[in-house]
Structure formats: C-alpha cells, structure tokens
C-alpha cells in the first residue's frame, strides 16, 4: 500500500508554541526537535502537560507553530497543509465519531470524504469492520457502543484512506487489557505495511512493547531519545519507568503548568 517516502516521515526542528495565559503567553513547546523515519513507530512520552497533545496538534495541522519547521510526509505543515492532510490519519484524545450514525455509515462517510469511490469505499468499510471485530456492531447506532468499541471505530475511521503517517494521541487510555492488545497488534500490522506511526502514551509498557524509538518530552523539549533499550542502558535503568522518573523530575520554574492537556 503506502510505500515509505524516501527520508524521514516526520521532521520537526525548533518547534515552539505558546498559549495565551493570564500573564501574557505560556510556552508549551520550547524548541522541540524530532525525527521519525518512515515505516517506524515513535512513542512520545512525557508527564501530563509536557506538550504531547500540542505536538500532535501542530503536526496534524490543527494548531499553528509559533516558530520552527515541521515537515510531515515530505510536506511543510504551514505551507502545504492540505498535502499533509491528504497523507495523514489522526486519532485524537476525544473520540471522533458521529454518534447518530451506525458504525458502517461512519466508515462510509470517511471513505466518501477520502474519495475512494462507491465500490472501493464499501470494500474498505467491510474490510475494516472485520479487521477491528466490528462486523456485528456495524448496523447499530454508535451511541449504543461501549467506550472501547467507539475507540476501535475511531481508529478504523482514521485508517480508511490508508494514510502514510498516523498520529495516535493516547490511543489506549481507557481501554481494557484485551482491547489494548488488539490495538497493539493493529499498530504492528500497520507498520509492517510501511505506515509511519507517532503515538503519545502515558503507559511506558506500551512504549516498550511497540516503539522502535522513544522521545521523552519534558519542559517543552525532547530531553532524551533513542530505542527503549538504548534509553535503559544510558540511564542505567531496569525499565522505561525508571528512565521516565529520572528524566522528568519536577525542576521548579521550567515545568509548564500541569493543566495543559486537560483543557480542550
């Protein structure tokens, strides 16, 4: 399907982003550098408020950067946002489904918007319903689904257009262990197909299992990066938990307020 583009799928250099606050502006991203090679999974780790969601927001064209360059799938997000949008799929923290429609109708809606054509759209819908174990629920209104089932539909909708780059913002938060495993399998299958994935997570175990590389975001910067094994070795730690704790100790003044990712 998607042949990995030559060069990195995601290139971020010097990314800065501030939000207005009561006392002027509050920096959330303070010079983020990040490179994600095509066809790999990178996990963005960090404490609450580290700027993970803001990073995904800028990379997926929902937010504008204050400074820095961001290229996704070979296109600059500021200059060619529509070219970026045609290459990406995004599953945000808020489930992005139409509650009044059925699961199948939701998938067909996205297939139509991706211009797959009627026949291909139906094939793709059937295929994704099967793949995510949603065939039985397909004809029911989404408002009757459980949280986990909605989340699966959400991810299936993200994949309809076979995007080259997929952003998953805390995709497994609130999922039961079985659903979480299903999603991990799905991520591995996507990467085996050549898709590039950037996911944010608070579960270090998730990063350890899934990610080819990990970037730890803290105080608005990437404070460490590498494979999970490299990070553990570099910090002489038995688990990514220990690495995380060592790197993200509150340092007083430089830590952004903790509420950033709770605000819509």
């Amino acid at each position: 399907m998607t042949s990995p583009a030559p060069g990195p799928a995601i290139e971020v250099a010097g990314l800065r982003k501030s939000y207005p606050s009561t006392s002027g502006t509050r920096p959330v991203l303070d010079g983020v550098d990040l490179t994600v090679p095509a066809g790999t999974v990178t996990a963005l780790l960090g404490p609450n408020g580290a700027g993970k969601t803001t990073t995904v927001g800028v990379l997926s064209t929902l937010l504008r950067a204050d400074a820095g360059t961001v290229r996704v799938a070979g296109h600059d997000v500021a200059r060619e946002p529509d070219a970026v949008r045609a290459s990406i799929g995004v599953t945000g923290q808020i489930t992005a489904v139409d509650e009044l429609l059925t699961g199948a109708e939701n998938l067909r809606l996205v297939a139509d918007l991706a211009h797959l054509g009627r026949a291909a759209g139906r094939r793709r819908t059937t295929e994704l319903l099967e793949r995510f174990g949603l065939t039985e629920a397909a004809g029911k209104p989404v408002s009757t689904y459980s949280g986990g089932t909605k989340r699966k539909l959400d991810l299936a909708m993200t994949l309809v257009g076979a995007p080259a780059v997929v952003f998953l913002d805390e995709p497994t938060t609130g999922l039961d262990p079985r659903s979480r495993r299903t999603l991990w399998d799905e991520v591995r299958a996507l990467v085996a197909d050549g898709t590039t994935i950037l996911l944010t997570t608070q579960y270090l175990e998730e990063a350890d299992h899934l990610a080819d590389s990990v970037a730890v975001l803290h105080g608005g910067r990437v404070v460490a990066g590498g494979t999970p094994a490299e990070l553990k070795a570099a910090y002489d730690a038995g688990s990514l938990d220990d690495v995380f704790l060592a790197l993200t100790e509150p340092t007083g003044g430089t830590t952004p307020a903790l509420d950033e990712e709770d605000v819509r």
Binding site: M1, T61, D82, A83, Q93, V97, D112, A114, L190, V263
Partner: protein, 278 residues
C-alpha cells in the same frame, strides 16, 4: 487481524462538490436518525399559529385590517396576517438547529477529524446549512398546510409561489450560514442556541405580528430598519398574490439576505480554521 494491502491512498485532489454532497447526506441521515429536531421545526410554528389565531386572533384581527369586526372575522384576518410570519419563523427555527448541530460536532471530535482531512471548510460547513434548509422547506409545506386547514386561502399564482420558494431558500441559506458561525463561536452546546434566539425575536419586533405604524416611534424606527420586516412584507405580498409586494421592499429583502449570508459565510470560514485549544 490481517494487514490491508489493496487500498489506494486518498487523493489529494480536492473535489468540493462531491464533499458537499457527502456532508449534506450525513446531515439528512442524522435528521432521519434523530427526528426530534425536525418535528420541533413544525410543532413550534404550529403552536404559535394556533395560539395567536384562536386565542388572540379574534381581538388582534380587528387591528390589522380596516373594517374587520372582532371575533370570527378577526380570527380570519389575523390568520391571513400572520401565516407569512410563521413561515419565516419556520425558516429561522431551521437555522437555530444549524447552530446546535454545528456546536455538537465541534464539541465532539468529529469536526477535528474533518479539519485534519483534505476537505474545504465550505464543504464541511455546507452539510448542516443545506441539510437543515431541506428540513425547513419540508416543515414550511406542513405549516402552510396547517394554515390552509384552518381556513387560510393564499391568492398566490404560480409565479408568486416560485418567487416565494426563492425567497425562503435565500433566507434559509443566509440564516443557516450565520448560525453555522454562531454554533462554531459558542463556548458549549448548551449556549449554542442563545445567539440565534435573537433571530427568533426579530420578527416580533417587526411587522410580523402587528403593523409597524401602530408602534411607538423608537420601536417603529427599529422595525422599519431591521431585516425581517422587508422579508415578511415580501412573503406577505407574494402569498396574497395580485399586485405582489413593492419592488423596493422585495429588493430590500433580497439585499438583507445577501448581506447576512455573505457575512455569515465569511465568519464561519474564519472560525473553522481558528485554533481550538487541544
């Protein structure tokens, strides 16, 4: 679970017309799944019509037409006078639903999903605009049917009816675009219908339920210079048939619709791309 290998990637080429059709289809499908809003579009004006004709009409009718005696004759005269107003209010009701629907989409994640796809803002937003216009037009037919059942006899000829349809489509598009913007601008779904409430009140502060000549100077001045007075007068003239409305009044009505529609469209487009804190 197996990997998928056979799907072509989404095309980067924009296809706005296809996207508009898709989004309108979604809006209508939502209306079928949740008919509450559509039923309210008919019930609201119907209750006002029954109340104003059968409770107030006997007395009010004598005030809107010269030589009419209170009672049954007054009711008939008032039915004649306010049916055009209620048709206009039906269109306004549709616009109110647009604001609520747009705010619901924005509060859930689905608007964010559309924003990360290569779809023109106009195509995304025209879904509820056209979808609720279709519903409002269907509601118009039912409200008009109810008025006819109550004894209303419009004198409109074929051309008048066509012009009337044109007027309501234009008004509906204008108000719906304005309400898309109001829905995007709302802080929450609960407050999304607050701003459009002003639109529901305006016909009362115009020639909707009483002739402007009977109002005190300040109110009269406002009534004569607000958009709904020429719109209602034009609808009234077209429904009555015969000479029809004055050309100047009709031109004012069309001009108001164009101004409100273009302003709403531009406002909605700028709000769509406005950053929303994640």
């Amino acid at each position: 679970m197996t990997a998928v290998t056979t799907t072509a990637p989404a095309t980067a080429r924009p296809r706005p017309v296809a996207d508009v059709v898709t989004m309108v289809r979604r809006s209508l499908l939502r209306a079928v799944r949740y008919p509450g809003l559509t039923i309210f579009l008919v019930l609201g004006p119907l209750v006002v019509l029954l109340l104003f004709v059968h409770v107030f009409g006997g007395a009010f009718g004598a005030g809107v037409a010269p030589g009419v005696t209170p009672g049954a004759e007054g009711r008939a005269a008032y039915l004649d006078y306010i049916t055009p107003t209620l048709l206009v209010l039906t269109v306004v009701g549709g616009a109110t639903s647009v604001a609520t629907s747009t705010a619901m989409d924005a509060a859930g994640g689905i608007t964010a999903r559309f924003k990360t796809m290569a779809i023109a803002p106009g195509a995304v937003l025209s879904g509820p605009v056209i979808g609720f216009l279709v519903q409002a037009l269907a509601a118009l037919v039912l409200v008009l049917g109810a008025a006819v059942a109550m004894g209303y006899r419009p004198g409109a000829g074929a051309l008048d009816r066509l012009a009337l349809l044109g007027l309501f489509v234009l008004l509906g598009l204008a108000l719906n675009w304005l309400c898309v913007a109001m829905g995007l601008n709302a802080r929450s779904v609960e407050t999304a219908s607050n701003a459009p409430m002003i639109l529901l009140l305006l016909p009362f502060l115009g020639s909707g339920f009483a002739p402007v000549e009977t109002m005190p100077t300040a109110v009269r001045w406002f009534a004569q210079h607000q958009p709904f007075t020429p719109v209602i007068e034009t609808a009234r003239g077209l429904l009555a048939g015969g000479a029809g409305p004055g050309g100047a009044v009709a031109a004012q009505a069309v001009a108001w619709c164009l101004v409100l529609g273009v302003a709403g469209w531009a406002w909605a487009r700028s709000l769509y791309r406005r950053e929303r804190r994640l």
